[in-house]
Amino acid sequence: MHPQTELLQTATRRHFLQQSSAGIGGLALAGLLGDSTSAATKPVDPLAPKQPHFPAKAKQVIYLHLTGSPPHLDLFDYKPELVKHNDKDCPNEYLEGQRFAFTSGVPKLMGTPRKFEQHGDGGVWLSDAVPHFHKVADDLCVIRSMTTDQFNHAPAELLVYTGSPRSGRPSLGTWVTYGLGTENENLPGFVVLISSGVQPNGGKNSFGSGFLPSVYQGVQCRSKGDPVLYASDPQGMNRTMRRLSLDALRDLNQLQADELGHPETLTRIAQYELAFRMQMSVPEVMNMNDEPKHIIDNYGAKPGESSFANNCLLARRLVENGVRYVQLFDWGWDFHGTGAGTGLMSGLTNKCATMDKPIAALINDLKQRGMYEETLIVIGGEFGRTPFREGRTAKSKVLGRDHYPDCYSMVLAGGPVQGGTMYGESDELGFRVARDKVHVHDLQATILHTLGFDHERLTFRFQGRDYRLTDVHGEVVNGVLA
């Protein structure tokens, strides 16, 4: 993949040639080698827009991560049998050989205390905790057969975003940016928006570049303070002076480049120009004051504050301006029931109110702008929650569930997705996948597939091995795609 960028860090000649024969990035390669007069001295832009392996179904991804993992059995996966067996001892067959984060002994099964109904033409089951999803039910594809290998937050989240439960690998957004480049050279190619005050469990590794060049890492944009760090001029300097200083700087650097003949000085000049434009364009795109009031109200956004609703609206503005991958992280979905805020009744109602309305608004907004067809939206946590009550809070009035990796739900939306459908199924009590298992690696393969990538061919050579997001696993889940 993209030999010119490959060479940034670790490529060997063998790899270079092998990749050229694979055809991907062939155009850029021709640009690098074909023009014999400039080939060696001409710098190559690692973020130039690139074509994927095959025609893409989606141009961009908005990934909405609900950090901590929402209780899917109280939102998306209705289990009447579990309700029937509420408060009975959890059958031993589900406990043997299993380990849970905060539960030991024999816990009690817990049917959902929420009301479920089918919605839309597709009859998608949804609980009363997500009323705004009811109206967009026919846009949603609920995967009820997700499974992962990890049951603690940090490793599970790293598995979702980097394909490995351990830190050090490139993240999903990084792979996408590495593969696609960016459409708007005035903005970062991969933007991260964080709400509710805490970064993801996997830390910056969840949007880091790992061993890929750092140009591909997620850039966190902020709705408070500088939208991008260090974007404000020093006090006492204004835009005019900034322009003046850049002009003079450019001339001085140019004099050096002419004298010493080092092409990277020219690159440095270009970076300062781009920084100048980013100082304009990032605050512009991050400033939602120019949005009509009804749009802001639809999302439930509040300009000047930091919230998931704001971030959903910002995500739309970013993809509208050519950002290929926008990653949201919203903290506070770890529904253990250790307090009312993480309980399945009022706690879940309140938390969902901050989430379903803006997501529904985002879906409608993208549709109105004709961008829905080419946008993939992914919604979910890093694992699921147990069909039984969590051990620590078993005697509390507040209901909560423990971490559960074996079977859970995620929601997809957007043009490439078959809306109004439910994919896969859990067993009667929700402990195991009954059919059409979707592993995290399969989801990753599917996301890359919608963007036009063969996940087995989007690779990077590091420490003598071709690494990829899906490690040595992953199969595209065609059943969720339109």
């Binding site: 960028t5 060479l7 940034l8 860090q9 670790t10 000649r13 270079f16 060696a40 001295t41 710098p43 190559v44 832009d45 380990r99 905060f102 603690n152 937050h153 940090a154 050090g168 964080i194 805490v198 970064q199 469990n201 830390g203 910056k204 880091g208 140009v215 850039v219 408070k224 760090l229 260090y230 020093p234 006090q235 006492g236 300097m237 900034r242 200083s245 002009d247 003079a248 700087l249 450019r250 001339d251 001085l252 650097n253 140019q254 004099l255 010493l260 003949g261 080092h262 092409p263 020219l266 690159t267 440095r268 970076q271 300062y272 781009l274 920084a275 980013m278 100082q279 971490h403 003598g464």
Partner: protein
């Protein structure tokens, strides 16, 4: 105010600027963005092989890439039972028939047009190109000789190749480089200018730019030794150790926080300081290796040697509730393997965690045998901070040594006047002991109560005995009528009794007790009935159990208390509580004493007695008072020593007193230092090692066969007869026979000095790593390194003394095209400074840099709110505590490294993430870097002070001042064009700031440090703009 464009028109250089703009418009399309410097095809690509194909150089790369996955060392992945990585197997199976390409199945398969027969199979996405097929054919025709991988064979010094330019070589390096250039038909570049050389050397050896006088001195020094003198001076600077350590910290994944999502703080900076000192003292690399990997296992290991083992405790540690301990502990062990194998052997051992290495001859058994070396740390997965060690820092160790010397001198003095001491002491003892014996008034309780229902009985000696119920916890409340209402201290005696368990003093089954809290209160006659608490200032006891010191009985914490080693020591114990303020009460007042026992399991005092004293001068420590109370002849050695110490330190007069007072002061300082030793994470070995098992698919809970510690079998074995432990491993790594260690480290030093290693993949010298550009040179240097006694400074010096290093980095378009990455070394190296150096450089040229070595990490400026914005875990997280004063201007290696939120300015310049071992950073060129350089207060403040230097040191006239700035920042004077450009820019800025003095004020108030008020505001602001420009020049952040 006039607009900028109008100003431009007036400016006489406007025309040239517009002309430049035109050039710019052209280059604008040619140059694209986010470009990384090293993005050109590698040098060897141009060089076509002229020799017959050699297995290592030409064939193995093809087979490794295309065939070994299924026909290599990994037995589990092997297809058709065919191995191509061993000649015997390849030949026996007739895949390779030496001399007969047409009869070789290998060649038939790779050239087949039948998709079912063609290798590699279509689903692997791998194909061989014509050149590769051709190489295989000619290699088989030549006899298909296999070779061992170059780096797995012991390095040897080959004879130096002679080259035509006999005058060029300065040392061995130049013979190798020169020979290769000759082969390629290239000539070396001329020597760089003196200014360029001294700047290059300073940046490379110390990480800081040269001072003006250092540049001037070198330029003026016409002697033959001039260059060498600079090198020697720089190698002696303590900046050298800091600079070298910075690279080592990346490799060691050093950080000041624990990582994972809570990312709490840890104290590892003493280890970091150990590294700096080791480099500054030029500790031989073999010793450096042994102490870091196994310092704890050395015979009579010193504190510093144990401290050094922090190297392998630098990995992240989780505190997440609910994690499985063993899973994380396993991760820590694997982190050590990955780090150790990368840092010393340049091998990616991690691959063998799940399967035999596909390319290198490293098996899973090798991996888990290596695992066994690091598997015996007495540690946990969750919150696995132990083992830790309190160890003095270097400074503390020095101060302690100094104190020891002084104390020895004082003791000598005291020894000389021993008679005088003894005489004075005897006099004091006589009166003091009399007083002590008389002073205590034993009290008899009027009321006794036990909260736990124990029976309290008053005995004849007025002591109280507990019996009956055995409550887990028990509070005694005692009331005393005071006949003499003056009190300065209260004494509690815990007394043994035959009715108590094992005839001790405590009620616990093991005869211990824990007095959680001792409280006293008075009810003043005539006042209300409500007891008024008495404040107890201090307490001493004649005996306390470790971690149950008597002071814990007045710490207002029921979770701690005083205990006396009851299980082993069945003796009386006495505690004396001193009142903060002496009491003087009306007659018939009442004293109430509460003794709280909350340890559980009846850890109550079994028999006790309370006394008080009114001695106004009572201030003796309990042990001294105790000793004085004992008849002289019966005093124990400890008691005698306590008396002597106390007398000399506090009572003695005259010469003895002076010496004694100084002695006590020094002893006080010593215990103060000893109690403030920082505690860092260290390695330790369990007495009984853990059993190590192969882990199936690398999973902690899927145990396979048992293995024992061993080094990888494809490498030379350690000497027999030795115990195979971490120490043996460390010694093996630095043994003369080890083919990798010296090569790996020399290669990294080369990378440090030339930007790219002789083997570019410094982390991988195995079969998948890049082939060295100058293998004989790397081997020569590796051998030289070992022969020099692993002398790091010697190797650094050897490299920088070479003609190769001294070449000019100016490049012609032809050479740039021929060798864009400078792998052939026909010119000097050139690269953007690493993150830390970018900042340090700005601090140095603005004279802000505080050159203090070591100490706790510091907190320079960073955008407000960042820590809590990204990592906000209530009760675990805190806001970034921005430093003050000197802490803002320390070298960047001292900046607090928080793993989840590393300093954003460093991250923008590609600092490593310190999550895992990093021996090669990426080097990018991004707009975020421009934003940091332009807008980070650290750089703006630096510009402010650089401007001061320019004005003050530059003297009269703008040209002089700007010239001074260029000299400071770039170590060279400006060219005419540069001077004109900067002067014009200065005048424009001057005009703008003259119009807007508030803007000038605001600009000059960036940063904590004050501006030089003697300077004219407008001049200073305009010059700050110029200085900011200088700091932002590409040349300013480039080593060339």
């Amino acid at each position: 105010m006039i607009g900028p464009h109008e100003l431009m028109k007036e400016h006489k250089w406007g025309l040239q600027i517009r002309a430049l703009s035109l050039i710019r418009a052209v280059t604008f399309f040619a140059v694209t963005f986010f470009v990384i410097c090293c993005c050109m095809p590698s040098a060897e690509q141009a060089a076509e092989p002229t020799k017959p194909p050699a297995y290592n150089h030409d064939i193995r790369p093809i087979l490794a890439e295309k065939c070994f996955r299924c026909h290599g060392a990994d037995s589990a992945a092997r297809e058709a039972d065919l191995r191509l990585d061993q000649r015997k197997s390849a030949v026996v199976s007739r895949a390779v028939v030496p001399g007969k390409p047409d009869g070789s199945e290998l060649l038939r398969r790779v050239t087949s047009t039948d998709p079912d027969k063609r290798m590699p199979p279509a689903d692997t996405q791998l194909t061989l190109n014509d050149r590769e097929k051709e190489l295989l054919k000619s290699w088989i025709a030549d006899g298909a000789e296999y070779q061992e991988h170059w780096s797995f064979v012991r390095p040897l010094k080959t004879p130096l190749p002679q080259i035509e330019r006999a005058e060029w070589p300065h040392n061995a390096i130049d013979h190798f480089v020169g020979a290769r250039l000759q082969e390629e038909g290239l000539a070396p570049s001329g020597e760089a200018s003196r200014r360029a050389l001294v700047r290059r050397l300073s940046l490379d050896i110390t990480g800081l730019p040269p001072r003006l006088e250092e540049v001037a001195a070198f330029v003026a020094d016409g002697s033959d030794e001039a260059y060498k003198k600079v090198v020697d001076r720089l190698l002696k600077s303590s900046r050298y150790g800091e600079h070298m350590a910075r690279y080592w910290l990346d490799a060691a994944r050093y950080a000041d926080s624990n990582g994972y999502q809570y990312d709490t703080e840890r104290t590892m900076w003493p280890w970091r300081d150990w590294v700096i000192r080791a480099f500054n003292n030029n500790m031989p690399f073999d010793q450096f290796t042994i102490e870091q990997l196994a310092g704890d296992l050395l015979p009579n290991a010193t504190n510093q040697q144990r401290l050094a083992t922090g190297f392998n405790r630098n990995h992240p540690i989780t505190i997440e509730g609910g994690v499985i301990d063993e899973e994380y502990r396993t991760e820590y062990v694997i982190d050590r393997i990955t780090t150790t194998s990368t840092v010393w052997m340049g091998l990616a051992m991690g691959c063998a965690r799940c399967h035999d290495h596909k390319f290198d001859p490293l098996t899973r058994v090798d991996f888990y045998s290596f695992f066994a070396f690091f598997n015996n740390v007495p540690e946990r997965g969750n919150s696995g901070f132990a083992p830790k060690q309190k160890a003095p820092t270097f400074e503390q160790e020095q101060e302690l040594a100094d104190i020891a010397t002084q104390l020895a001198a004082i003791d000598k003095t005291l020894e000389a006047i021993a008679d005088q001491v003894a005489e004075q002491q005897a006099q004091w003892e006589a009166t003091a002991s009399k007083r002590v014996r008389q002073q205590w008034q034993i009290l008899s309780p009027t009321e006794m109560a036990s909260s736990g229902g124990s029976t309290l009985t008053l005995l004849d000696d007025q002591s109280v005995l507990a019996s009956g119920a055995k409550p887990s916890n028990d509070d005694y409340e005692l009331t005393f009528a005071l006949s003499n209402p003056k009190i300065t201290a209260i004494r509690l005696e815990a007394i043994t009794h035959e009715s108590l368990p094992h005839k001790g003093a405590g009620r616990a089954f093991n005869s211990n007790f824990v007095l959680s809290e001792f409280e006293a209160a008075v009810v003043e006659n005539g006042a209300s009935d409500k007891p008024v608490p008495i404040k107890l200032a201090s307490v001493s006891a004649d005996y306390s159990q470790k971690n149950y010191e008597v002071a814990r009985s007045i710490d207002s914490n029921l979770g701690t208390g005083w205990a006396v080693d009851g299980p082993t020591r069945k003796e009386n114990a006495t505690a004396v509580y001193l009142l903060a303020v002496p009491l003087a009460l009306p007659a018939e007042s009442i004293l109430k004493v509460t003794m709280r026992h909350r340890f559980g399991s009846t850890h109550s005092i079994g028999r006790f007695r309370i006394s008080v004293t009114d001695d106004p001068s009572f201030n003796l420590p309990a042990d001294v008072a105790q000793a004085l109370a004992v008849a002289e002849a019966k005093r124990t050695n400890e008691q005698l020593s306590a008396l002597r110490e106390y007398f000399i330190g506090h009572i003695a007069e005259g010469e003895v007193g002076r010496a004694g007072r100084r002695r006590a002061e020094l002893q006080g300082r010593r215990s103060q230092i000893e109690s403030s030793f920082p505690e860092t994470l260290v390695m330790a070995e369990m007495a009984k090692p853990r059993e190590t098992f192969m882990l199936i698919r690398g999973q902690y809970d899927k145990k396979g066969e048992k293995v024992t510690a061993a080094t990888p079998t494809f490498l030379p074995s350690p000497p027999g007869g030795e115990k195979i432990d971490r120490l043996a491993l460390a010694r093996w790594l630095v043994s003369r026979d080890h083919p990798l260690t010296a090569r790996v480290y020399v290669n990294r030093l080369w990378q440090q000095l030339f930007g790219i290693g002789i083997v570019r993949t410094v982390e991988d010298l195995g079969t998948q790593g890049e082939w060295p550009t100058h293998q004989e040179m790397l081997d020569w240097l590796a051998v030289d390194f070992m022969e020099s006694g692993w002398d790091v400074k010697h190797i650094v010096k050897t490299i920088v003394m070479s003609s190769t290093y001294r070449q000019s980095s100016i490049v012609t378009p032809q050479l740039l095209k021929r060798d864009p990455e400078n792998r052939l070394l026909a010119r000097g190296a050139r690269s953007r400074l690493p993150a830390e150096m970018v900042r340090d450089n700005a601090l140095a040229v603005s004279d802000l840099l505080v050159e203090k070595v070591g100490g706790p990490s510091v907190y320079p400026y960073q955008p407000p709110g960042l820590w809590l914005e990204i990592n906000n875990r209530p009760n675990y997280s805190k806001a970034y505590p921005t430093g003050k004063g000197d802490d803002l201007y320390r070298r960047s290696l001292y900046t607090f490294w928080k793993r989840t939120v590393p300093h954003p300015a460093m991250a923008a310049f590609d600092s490593a993430d310190r999550e895992i071992c990093t021996v090669r950073r990426s080097r990018t060129n991004t707009p975020l870097q421009a934003l940091v350089m332009l807008n980070d207060p650290q750089f703006v403040e630096a510009a402010k002070h650089l401007a001061e230097r320019m004005i003050v040191e530059g003297g009269d006239g703008l040209a002089n001042q700007i010239g001074r700035g260029m000299e400071i920042v770039l170590s060279r004077p400006p060219t005419g064009a540069e001077l004109e450009e900067l002067s014009a820019y200065y005048r424009i800025e001057h005009g703008l700031f003259r119009e807007d003095s508030t803007a000038a004020e605001r600009l000059l108030s960036v940063g904590e440090s004050a501006r030089n008020q003697d300077l004219d505001l407008t001049d200073h602001a305009a010059m700050t703009s110029v200085a900011r420009l200088l700091l932002n020049l590409n040349e300013a952040i480039t080593r060339q």
